[in-house]
């Protein structure tokens, strides 16, 4: 009898504990329910209470199948939900791509309407000699065409982001018309210089190892050698036509290297706060550039330095005046500088093992 009473008491203490917890978190509904339960239970004598509890237990047992069923349902619903979220992300991405494609098609149509002006621009561009004249002409032409686009009947309802995207498309298309003249202003001189570097890198790639005296890549970083993902990013550089796209390509190559290096670091060291730094990046970048054998590097550098860095050097920070400058953030310039430095270093390397 005594033992049963303590059991009852324990039940009461448990309920009161739940009640106080509900009060602390401010759950008024639960608190009211608990208060009602306590009041109700206090009316029962021990024997009745036991019966109530037994019948509750039996009831719960009866429902356990149903509870299991509900749990299963919930699990599959969560799985569906996850799947739909992924589908939605894919669709959003598709939508973005389609929008981009549509804008690029419409830009193409727009430029076709202005074919004559464009051809005249290409001729003008070819006749210029100096880099800054060329890049000024390009910038002026782009701005003028973009302004004309805003007036165009097809574009008059376009939103600002669409117009910005259209400007990028227009730049890509115009660049593809003048690409060869912009990239190789000295014609054969440029291409033969590029070929020399390419041959030089090819010879280097035969002798170079991560332990080469000019690299000395620490062994903890050699896990991911030959950093293929980064090489693949870099090789793409000649597929892009605008300077910004090429810059983005170099930035992706460098940040891929950093990601791979930090992967090696977390695998090989106990210190999880350690991160790769510039000391680690430079030798790996040299290795990646040499092994990738990317062609046209010197012309690419000349091209970007003349069409992007000119605006970059002038100290205009205003949003309008330096359209190109505002788009490219400091980090991209950092990776670019690392890249140019690496190419310069490669030029000075020899074939001694």
């Amino acid at each position: 009898m005594k033992k049963d009473e303590t059991a009852d008491n324990e039940l009461m203490i448990f309920l009161k504990y739940l009640l106080s917890e509900a009060l602390v978190v401010g759950d008024k509904i639960l608190a009211t329910q608990l208060q009602a339960t306590i009041k109700c239970l206090s009316n029962f004598r021990h024997y009745d209470l036991k019966r109530v509890l037994n019948s509750l237990r039996a009831d719960y047992k009866l429902r356990s199948c149903y509870v299991a069923y509900l749990t299963r349902c919930k699990r599959s619903l969560l799985a569906f939900n996850h799947k739909y979220e992924k589908l939605l992300a894919e669709l959003t991405r598709d939508q973005e791509m389609l929008n981009k494609y549509m804008i690029s098609m419409m830009t193409r149509l727009f430029l076709e309407k202005h074919q004559r002006v464009l051809l005249k621009f290409v001729v003008d561009f070819q006749s210029l000699v100096l880099f800054d004249e060329k890049s000024d002409l390009l910038e002026r032409f782009l701005t003028a065409k973009h302004a004309a686009m805003r007036q165009d009947v097809m574009w008059k309802d376009a939103t600002e982001p669409q117009l910005q995207e259209a400007r990028l498309c227009m730049e890509r298309m115009i660049m593809s018309h003048i690409y060869l003249y912009a990239m190789y202003p000295n014609g054969d001189g440029d291409t033969s210089r590029d070929r020399l570097l390419e041959e030089h890198m090819q010879k280097l790639s035969a002798v170079i190892t991560p332990d080469h005296r000019d690299l000395r890549i620490p062994s903890i970083y050699q896990n991911e050698c030959p950093w293929l993902a980064a090489q693949k990013e870099l090789i793409m550089i000649n597929a892009f036509k605008t300077p910004e796209d090429k810059l983005g390509c170099v930035a992706r190559c460098c940040s891929t290297i950093m990601t791979l290096l930090s992967l090696s670091l977390t695998c090989n060291t106990a210190n999880h706060s350690a991160v790769p730094v510039a000391d680690d990046l430079v030798p790996v970048l040299l290795y990646v550039i040499i092994q990738s054998g990317t062609p046209n590097l010197l012309s690419t550098i000349q091209y970007i330095e003349s069409y992007c860095c000119k605006n970059n050097d002038s100290a205009s920070f205003a949003a309008d005046g330096c359209y190109k400058n505002a788009k490219i953030d400091g980090e991209v310039w950092y990776w670019w500088t690392q890249f140019v430095a690496a190419v310069n270093f490669i030029k000075s390397m020899d074939y001694k093992e």
Binding site: R213, D214, R216, S255, M258, T259, L261, S262, V275, P276, V277, A278, D279, L281, V282, P283, N312, D313, S314, A315, S316, F317, N325, G330, E331, W333, Y334, W335, T337, Q338, V340, A341, A342, N344, F345, S348
Partner: protein, 210 residues
């Protein structure tokens, strides 16, 4: 007390500067910057994939100064590439290890080079790191301080490990910077600075923020 002119009531101006880190490989130049960028926010654990390029802002009383921090390779064999990194930089921090005389002489080489080749208005800061290892000290404070004074450099001894003087270093640089803006050549700046306030001579530090 600051004797500032009228425009202090407006929203704080923000300036952006390029800062390069020079110093031999093991002197802890990256740890110094990581401590500056992350150290003030212990519960802020953004995963960094690298400490090659980082940004961090310092709030002064009347301005926000944002640093774009460029880490450079410290290995001797890449020394010839250094000018490409400090081209157009507004600040150079040259770090040596107080337990190694070699790193100090290397730092001096860098400073000479910077004075000869970097932008005219560049603020150069000499930093002796690892003062937590005071018992192994090889470079005397007085020696380094005298060298810094002689060459008109900022000087500080820090410990990236214990965070001693790290934030102080960047605040000191931030305070020194706007004054130099008027003397620097805009053509050599990689990025302009929106600076139209009169340079402050003694703006008070109010702390740091992200």
């Amino acid at each position: 007390m600051s004797n500032k002119p009228t425009n202090s009531a407006l929203s704080p101006k923000s300036y952006q500067y390029k800062l390069v880190l020079l110093g031999e490989s093991a002197v802890g130049k990256s740890s110094l910057v990581l401590r500056f960028v992350k150290g003030q926010f212990h519960d802020y654990q953004e995963s960094t994939i690298g400490a090659a390029f980082l940004t961090q802002s310092v709030c002064l009383e009347d301005a926000t100064v944002k640093f774009e921090i460029w880490d450079t390779a410290g290995q001797e064999r890449y020394h010839s590439l250094a000018p490409m990194y400090y081209r157009g930089a507004h600040v150079a921090i040259v770090v040596y290890d107080i337990t190694s005389q070699d790193t100090f002489s290397r730092a001096k080489t860098w400073i000479k080079e910077l004075q000869r080749q970097a932008s005219a208005g560049i603020v150069i800061c000499l930093v002796g790191n690892k003062i937590d290892l005071a018992d192994k000290k090889m470079v005397e404070t007085s020696e380094a301080k005298a060298y810094a004074d002689e060459n008109g450099l900022l000087f500080m001894e820090t410990s990236a490990k214990t965070a001693t003087n790290v934030t102080e270093l960047f605040i000191a640089i931030a305070k020194k910077l706007p004054k130099n803006e008027s003397t620097s050549h805009s053509g050599q700046m990689r990025r302009g600075i929106e600076l139209n306030a009169t340079p402050q001579t003694d703006s008070q530090q109010t702390g740091c923020c992200k």
